[in-house]
């Protein structure tokens, strides 16, 4: 098991290096130059060249890549082209905000999804199945941003139950600040709830069709121990999907964060793209991609811990 975990960890290194290449490459394929955007049209060519040199944009691409990689490995992502503040600080703040949303949305979405899926499968073909399957399908089918807008209209504009946007400021009492979370968390949890619910239902139904479930009853196990067996068997594929979904949530939904004006990583990315703020863009994508890889690594290890047949 330890050997397996160590091997997977080593395998993650080339993947991460590949990620840095893609991140760097993609950002530079995008047309538009940050300096051109920043400088007034009447700026002299000398000043533009000077600025380019200051940010290192004058060097050949491969030199830029290695310089960037070398610094990034030391945690130095440079300065934002837009406001010349360190990228790292902005990134940490935005990621922190997205983390709060992602963790809450994952908790809500995953637990509802697992619950709905289990009930659907255990009551296969009867009314609870139809009800919860319909809910799950609705969850995956509704567009994020549309839900966000409808929720804002219903709970913030037409009724004044909840704040429409932002995340409040530190001066407000905790209870008030929690209210800012409700709408974005509900919106973000819909898709994880739907996809997890559908997968849990399908997986558990498949397991229920296997002989060993009958054999468990044949040896006298009662309902809950049997469900424990089913859960352990269903866990690997569900964990894999939860890893992916949590990765998406961490990336922060650009659309949802924009609708709710939530200062998270999605928002940061969105701004950076429009401002051609290459250092921010690179750092954000790299950190998110790294999270994604690490998350999937964790899922792999967890899967192997649960199902010995995966440890090969």
């Amino acid at each position: 098991m330890l050997v397996f975990a160590f091997r997977r960890l080593l395998q993650a290194i080339p993947i991460l290096l590949g990620v840095t290449l893609v991140v760097f490459g993609l950002v530079h394929i995008v047309p538009g130059n940050p300096i051109d955007m920043l400088m007034p049209p009447e700026a002299s060519p000398e000043i533009i060249a000077q600025m380019k040199a200051a940010f290192g944009f004058d060097k050949p691409l491969y030199v830029q890549y290695f310089l960037w990689l070398f610094r990034a490995l030391q945690g130095d992502f440079g300065l934002s082209v837009f406001n010349a503040t360190p990228v790292w600080g902005q990134l940490i703040a935005a990621l922190g905000n997205t983390f709060i949303l992602a963790i809450l949305a994952a908790m809500v979405g995953f637990s509802l999804g697992i619950g709905f899926g289990m009930i659907s499968a255990l009551y296969h073909g009867r009314w609870p199945d139809k009800l919860f399957s319909a809910l799950a399908t609705t969850g995956v089918s509704l567009p994020h941003y549309w839900c966000a807008i409808v929720l804002v209209l219903a709970f913030a504009v037409m009724n004044d139950f909840l704040p429409a946007q932002g995340m409040g400021d530190d001066a407000e009492p905790l209870y008030n600040r929690l209210q800012y979370l409700v709408l974005p968390v509900v919106t973000l949890s819909l898709i994880p709830m739907g996809v997890i619910g559908r997968l849990v239902r399908a997986t558990v139904l498949e397991i229920l069709g296997q002989d060993f479930v009958g054999a468990l009853s044949a040896k006298g196990l009662t309902r809950w121990p049997v469900i424990r067996h089913i859960c352990k068997n269903a866990a690997p594929p569900v964990l894999a999907l939860m890893g992916l979904q949590f990765g998406y949530l961490l990336g922060g939904s650009i659309l949802v964060e924009t609708v709710y004006n939530w200062p998270g990583s999605g928002n940061l990315l969105n701004l950076a793209i429009f401002r051609r703020d290459i250092p921010i863009l690179q750092a954000t994508i790299l950190v998110l991609a790294t999270f994604f890889v690490l998350l999937n690594l964790l899922v792999d290890i967890a899967q192997a811990a649960i199902d010995p047949r995966i440890r090969r």
Binding site: Q210, D211, F212, G214, A215, L216, S217, A218, K219, G220, L221, T222, P225, H229, K232, N233, I306, D307, P308, R309
Partner: protein, 335 residues
């Protein structure tokens, strides 16, 4: 009234007794009569084999006994285990019996064992469930059970997952699991079908030896005439959800009376038939959703008469307790 199929208990009280067991699968458009009135009685230490082709209802009968059929299955009749009716008792009561006084082994041990728990965990969880002893004590018992079914280096095998064992080893582990709480009845659903021939013999011998040690009754379901001859005290031949003939091994193997039994025996490869043409039974088993009136075997039978296709087929019971369900039984006996 039960439909008269009875294997008479000769000595002692039967541990397992079924009377007119009937199973129908009723769904929207179909009504499948899988088991149509099966009766038998089994005493401690006795082995009865239910012999039949695929789809004859033998596995369904076992699952009905254990209450393992899906909810849409309609089960009728009576099944007593040590004098208590299993079909009408509450689910919780039945749960205490299953894996306790009555347990079951399956055709595919790989499919019947949970792939993500070790053999030791699976055996001891059964013991904990039934006897409420500590997990550590249950593990010790599991070790003893693995040794009892002759699994080499049992200590290590306890920590193995099903996929880490060979087919024969898995079936031994399955048997150990079934014996965990000293059942008085063991239901064996084609336990040797999925195994290599050499391993089949080992498992049959093991079952016989364990039966001698533990004195349990075995219901052995198979389509393998050889396995049936090897392990049984009595054989009941099943066709289209009914017992068409039953009797001691000797009676069935030496002087089969029902044309189906005769066909089954003569279509089996064994040494005595060397040089002779293997016979087959023409046609295929009837559709259980549309059973013909009269004898279900009539369309495939070469001794068929008009009397076979209509009315009730008489059941003829001999003094020894052997039974045959055939219009022409009295003729074929002498034939």
């Amino acid at each position: 009234m039960p439909e008269g199929i009875n294997v008479k208990p000769i000595l002692g009280e039967p541990v397992l007794k079924a009377e007119d067991l009937t199973v129908r699968f009723k769904r929207r458009n179909t009504d499948v009569a899988a088991v149509n009135g099966v009766s038998f009685a089994l005493r401690a230490g006795e082995t009865m084999t239910i012999l039949g082709e695929s789809g004859s209802g033998k596995s369904v009968s076992l699952k009905a006994l254990m209450g393992l059929l899906p909810p849409y299955a309609q089960i009728q009749g009576k099944v007593w285990l040590n004098g208590r009716d299993m079909l009408t008792m509450p689910k919780a009561e039945l749960g205490k019996l299953r894996g306790g006084a009555i347990s079951m082994i399956f055709q595919e041990p790989m499919a019947a064992l949970d792939p993500v728990y070790t053999i030791g965990e699976q055996i001891s969880e059964t013991i904990v469930q039934h006897e409420g002893i500590s997990y550590t004590d249950a593990m010790k018992r599991a070790l003893g059970l693995l040794e009892q079914v002759k699994i080499p280096s049992a200590e290590r095998r306890l920590k193995n997952f099903p996929h880490e064992m060979s087919g024969g080893m898995r079936q031994r582990a399955m048997i150990a699991l079934a014996l965990a709480c000293s059942p008085s009845v063991l239901l064996a659903d084609e336990p040797t079908t999925a195994l290599d021939v050499t391993v089949q013999i080992q498992i049959l011998l093991l079952l016989r030896q364990l039966q001698e040690e533990l004195g349990m009754a075995i219901v052995f379901v198979t389509h393998d005439v050889g396995a049936a001859a090897e392990i049984s005290d009595r054989i009941a031949v099943m066709y289209a959800g009914r017992f068409v003939e039953s009797g001691t091994v000797r009676e069935i193997m030496k002087s089969p009376k029902h044309p189906y039994t005769q066909g089954l025996l003569s279509s089996t490869v064994h040494g005595g038939l060397r040089g002779r043409v293997l016979e087959t039974i023409p046609g295929s088993p009837p559709n259980l959703a549309e059973l013909p009136p009269g004898c279900a075997f009539a369309p495939r039978c070469r001794h068929v008469t008009d009397g076979c296709r209509s009315g009730i087929i008489p059941v003829i019971t001999s003094d020894s307790g052997a039974m045959v369900r055939c219009v022409r039984a009295t003729e074929t006996v002498t034939a």
